[in-house]
């Protein structure tokens, strides 16, 4: 990649507004994700974190602003075409295919990006290396997996498209702390080994900020704070709003 490409962020969201009917969920959001970074997006319930992720994916559509992926404008591009640019998503609530087997779920991740057999095999190996549990459950129906395994499957499925950007919506939601830790470890491994760029949306601010290189804090559809993970962790307002409460809960 050229020097210019290296300096432009992989994903740039500029002044994006989005709304559900009359309720404005994003009121002009700017974020940037550079290659090889893990970026955490934290905030309370209803702050618009998931909406931002979905807007990057084209649903709901951005009413104003511009979303650029690798220098190309992807605002208003249909969702499935955005996915084919190899932006992968592990959506909120995991959304695996419950009646299909683990193998089929993983294959679904590879189907749309038209990868070769060799790439598919390599992808599977990578997923199984990351989550050996999935290999044990390969023939099982997705719906019969435990919550943690389903999360692993959702991430594994996203990885099967050999993503350039992986977006994870609340990967630790509803998981036992130990399992959540495994998931976060896996994300860190992916980033360190393969240089995978990750955007992670989390309510678990402590975990997410420790994992991330940089973080954004979102309140009521606006980015209110930005900084490195370590910086944000030290900010008193973050500690008060997300960490103390989070620890008690």
């Amino acid at each position: 990649m050229s020097a210019a490409a290296a300096t432009t962020p992989l994903l740039a969201v500029r002044g994006v507004r989005a709304a559900y009917g009359k309720i404005e969920a994003l009121k002009g959001v700017d974020i940037e994700i550079n290659r090889g970074e893990i970026v955490a997006l934290i905030g309370a319930n209803g702050a618009g974190k998931s909406t931002l992720m979905m807007t990057i994916f084209g649903r709901p559509r951005a009413r104003a602003g511009r979303i650029e992926f690798d220098g190309h404008d992807i605002t208003g591009v249909p969702t499935h075409e955005i996915a084919r640019l190899r932006i992968a998503q592990s959506p909120e609530g995991r959304r695996i295919f419950p009646r299909m087997s683990v193998a089929e779920n993983l294959q679904m991740g590879a189907d749309a990006t038209e990868c070769s057999d060799a790439e598919r095999e390599a992808g599977l190996e990578r997923v199984f290396a990351l989550f050996p549990r999935l290999k044990e459950r390969i023939a099982q129906r997705g719906g019969t997996l435990s919550g943690g395994e389903q999360q692993m499957l959702a991430i594994g499925r996203a990885l099967m498209s050999r993503p350039r950007l992986l977006m994870l919506d609340e990967p630790s939601l509803g998981l036992a702390p130990l399992i959540a830790r495994q998931i976060f470890d896996a994300i860190r491994t992916l980033n360190r080994q393969d240089g995978l760029t990750v955007l992670i949306v989390e309510q678990n601010a402590n975990h997410a900020l420790k994992l991330a290189h940089r973080g954004y804090v979102m309140v009521n559809g606006l980015i209110t704070l930005a900084g490195t993970g370590a910086e944000l962790l030290q900010r008193p307002e973050i500690r008060a709003a997300y960490l103390e409460g989070g620890r008690r809960g």
Binding site: M100, E104, A112, A129, S161, A186
Partner: protein
């Protein structure tokens, strides 16, 4: 229940004979209370206008006895079909016999289907009935693509059946095209209408989709009734040519098949030909469906049934996926319609009512959505069984209703609710240990 609590049973539901007896007794008691007034005492207006009554304790006892016995049978059956990890009272040999039968059912049915014209050569009624059953098997398999695989509830499937039938009927009577030319045309036209229906309903799911497809089915029927100049309206289209065996007619004339082969003509020849024709068409439907399920498009259909949002996020174009499902299902409906037209020789809008759509949908649902064998069995049971109970007269519907209710209680996912996976990862099972170690990082 001391007998049960003492036993370390893994399942929540107890299953001893004492439990069954207790359950049957409770059912009998409820029946006694319910029926004692409804059946035990009969009242009627007497000759003087006063109320007279008499008792029918014999009938009451018989009914309560029936409930008691029936309850035991029901409970036994429930444990037969129940989850495998449960302590079953069904002896092991019977269980293995059932699973053996399950494995060989499909091949056995196929062989039997091929032999039907040989076995029942002289029984016109059975041949006719088998052709009818196979037509519904094909329709069921066609609708299965839309409802079973793609999960799009289509209540207007009969519309495509009608499009296929009228395509063949009109092309053959007006332009003299042969069945073999019209068959693909009927399929293409039906698929075209499938896409046409698909566009407005792309955003709909579930109940809303069902209503629109229902309306679509009615629209097609009403257009056929009212477009008299083209379709003949309620009078239908008659004189539809019979199919030929690749140009050789199945008639008693000199150029007929019988004369050419030097055998005596029999009208059964045509029936046997029609039988193998619909069998071949149904098997083609089945084969195509099975193949498609293993391709990305078939997987996308099934994924669409499971979760549309996730599909989109994985880069699947849900629009084209839905449209291809509609078109594929409609195409098979069109084929079946063309066959129907050539078999009957006469078609009218009466053959394409909502009842047909409901029947085909019932076959798919009862068979187990997505299961090819289940759909075939359900078609056999629904169409064949319905004929079988002809002797029961007015009780036929009752028997049928009860059978369907019972089936839905025991097999809520249909006769064969099991779904066979389509992706197998036999190759490359061994992962080198260093990768695993790194993965734990």
């Amino acid at each position: 229940m001391s007998a049960n609590s003492a036993r370390p049973s893994p399942a929540a539901q107890p299953s001893g004979s004492a439990f069954i007896l207790k359950k049957a007794l409770i059912s009998a008691l409820v029946a006694l209370v319910l029926f004692s007034l409804m059946i035990g005492v009969r009242t009627e207006a007497g000759p003087q206008g006063g109320l007279i009554y008499w008792t029918r304790f014999g009938d009451l006892a018989a009914l309560v006895g029936a409930v008691f016995g029936g309850s035991i049978i029901v409970e036994l059956l429930r444990q037969w079909w129940g989850p495998v990890d449960k302590d079953s009272i069904v002896p092991k040999p019977v269980q293995s016999a059932i699973s053996f039968a399950g494995r060989w059912l499909a091949p056995a049915l196929l062989v039997f289907a091929f032999l039907v014209p040989v076995i029942f050569y002289n029984q016109r009624y059975i041949l006719d009935l088998s052709i009818l059953v196979l037509t519904y098997v094909m329709l069921g398999w066609g609708l299965n693509v839309v409802v079973g695989l793609a999960g799009l509830l289509d209540l207007g499937y009969v519309a495509f059946y009608a499009v296929g039938a009228y395509s063949y009927a009109l092309l053959a009577t007006n332009f003299g095209l042969s069945f073999w030319v019209c068959l693909p045309l009927a399929g293409i036209l039906a698929a075209f209408w499938g896409v046409l229906l698909g566009f407005p309903v792309l955003r709909l799911r579930g109940d809303y989709l069902a209503i629109v497809t229902l309306a679509f089915g009615e629209i097609i029927r009403l257009v056929i009734i009212n477009w008299q100049s083209l379709t003949g309206g309620p009078n239908g289209v008659s004189g539809i040519p019979r199919p030929t065996m690749f140009g050789i007619p199945l008639t008693p004339g000199d150029d007929g098949l019988a004369a050419r082969l030097g055998i005596e003509f029999s009208p059964t020849h045509r029936l046997v030909f029609l039988f193998y024709l619909i069998l071949a068409m149904a098997l083609l439907t089945n084969w195509v469906t099975i193949r498609l399920r293993r391709l990305p498009i078939g997987r996308a259909w099934e994924a669409l049934r499971e979760d549309e949002v996730a599909c989109r996020a994985l880069g699947i174009n849900t629009t084209t996926t839905k449209l291809t499902a509609f078109a594929t299902g409609a195409m098979f409906g069109g084929f079946a319609g063309a066959f129907f037209a050539t078999r009957q020789g006469f078609i009218s809008p009466e053959s394409f009512t909502f009842q047909e759509s409901a029947l085909v949908l019932a076959i798919v649902v009862l068979g187990g959505m997505g299961s090819q064998l289940g759909v075939a069995l359900a078609a056999l049971a629904m169409i064949g069984g319905f004929e079988l109970f002809r002797g029961f007269d007015q009780y036929r519907m009752l028997v049928f209703g009860i059978a369907m209710v019972l089936l839905m209680i025991w097999r809520p996912r249909g006769l064969i609710g099991h779904r066979a996976p389509t992706v197998f990862l036999e190759r490359n099972q061994a992962i080198s240990s260093d990768l695993v170690k790194e993965g734990h990082g």
